[in-house]
Amino acid sequence: MLSSMFESSTIPLLEQVVNFTQSRHGVLAGNIANIDTPGYKTRDLSVENFQARLQDAIAAKRQASESPTYALNAQLAGRPTGSGTENWERVREASKDILFHDNHDVSLETQVTEISKNQAQHNLALTIMNAQFRLLRAAVTERT
């Protein structure tokens, strides 16, 4: 009952966004730390890949709510199951594939901008998550 309360909201999705942006922040911070390291190749996490996987998981979740056998069939076919924590497994893996950029003109400015954008996305997800929890608390305590 409690799990379905969280499951039906956007909280698991936002959790994935926060996870990913935190991992990406670590990678980008490493780039800044190594700005003067000879032979260092800047690395990054693929945002496109993450967004695509997130989209797949959301679509699967929507389909699973319509068809009761969807999750089972998807699990057998190795697709996102649409329900439970295993639905987000492929999304979670997106924070592990590290990209290497070999273009020579990756500058401090570009890296800092990427960090800012990533931070904005992280804060956006957390703000929405906060609003969700506040909504739940208002329902539980019958107060706003």
Binding site: E109, T110, V112, T113, S116, A120, N123, T127, I128, N130
Partner: protein, 136 residues
């Protein structure tokens, strides 16, 4: 909103490159030989910008990128120094034709433009944060 950040960043990169060229010109103010060690005075260089159609915002804003680095088309300054190893048959040494005042004013312009781009980045970030506050 994120595209606006990319446009401002391209401005930062361009202005820093321009500043690099200026500091190179100032550092080589008295350089009379090229990298091979042959007598050849340093030619001042400057960076040429172009609008970058790969960086765009929804409002039609465009980013900037480095088109090329050009060499100034100026004759070297001849100074009479007969004892100098690089002096020619008449005793004149060819020094780079670099005007310190011009270079400093350019440096100031580049650094102000850099600051302006940072200012725009701050405004963009502030706008994003304020949009978030609607939710909070």
């Amino acid at each position: 909103m994120f595209n606006a950040l990319d446009v401002s960043t391209s401005g930062l990169v361009a202005q820093r490159t321009r500043l690099n060229a200026i500091s190179s010109n100032l550092a080589n103010m008295s350089t009379t030989r090229n990298e091979a060690g042959e007598p050849d005075p340093y030619t001042p260089r400057f960076v040429v910008f172009k609008t970058d159609e790969n960086i765009t915002t929804s409002g039609g804003g465009q980013g900037v990128s480095i088109d090329r680095v050009e060499y100034a088309n100026v004759e070297p300054n001849l100074k009479y120094e007969p004892g100098h190893p690089d002096a020619n048959a008449e005793g004149y040494v060819a020094y780079p034709n670099i005007d310190m005042t011009t270079e400093f004013v350019d440096a100031l312009g580049a650094s102000r433009a850099y600051e302006a781009n940072i200012g725009v980045i701050e405004v963009t970030k502030d706008m994003g944060e304020r949009t978030l506050q609607i939710l909070a």
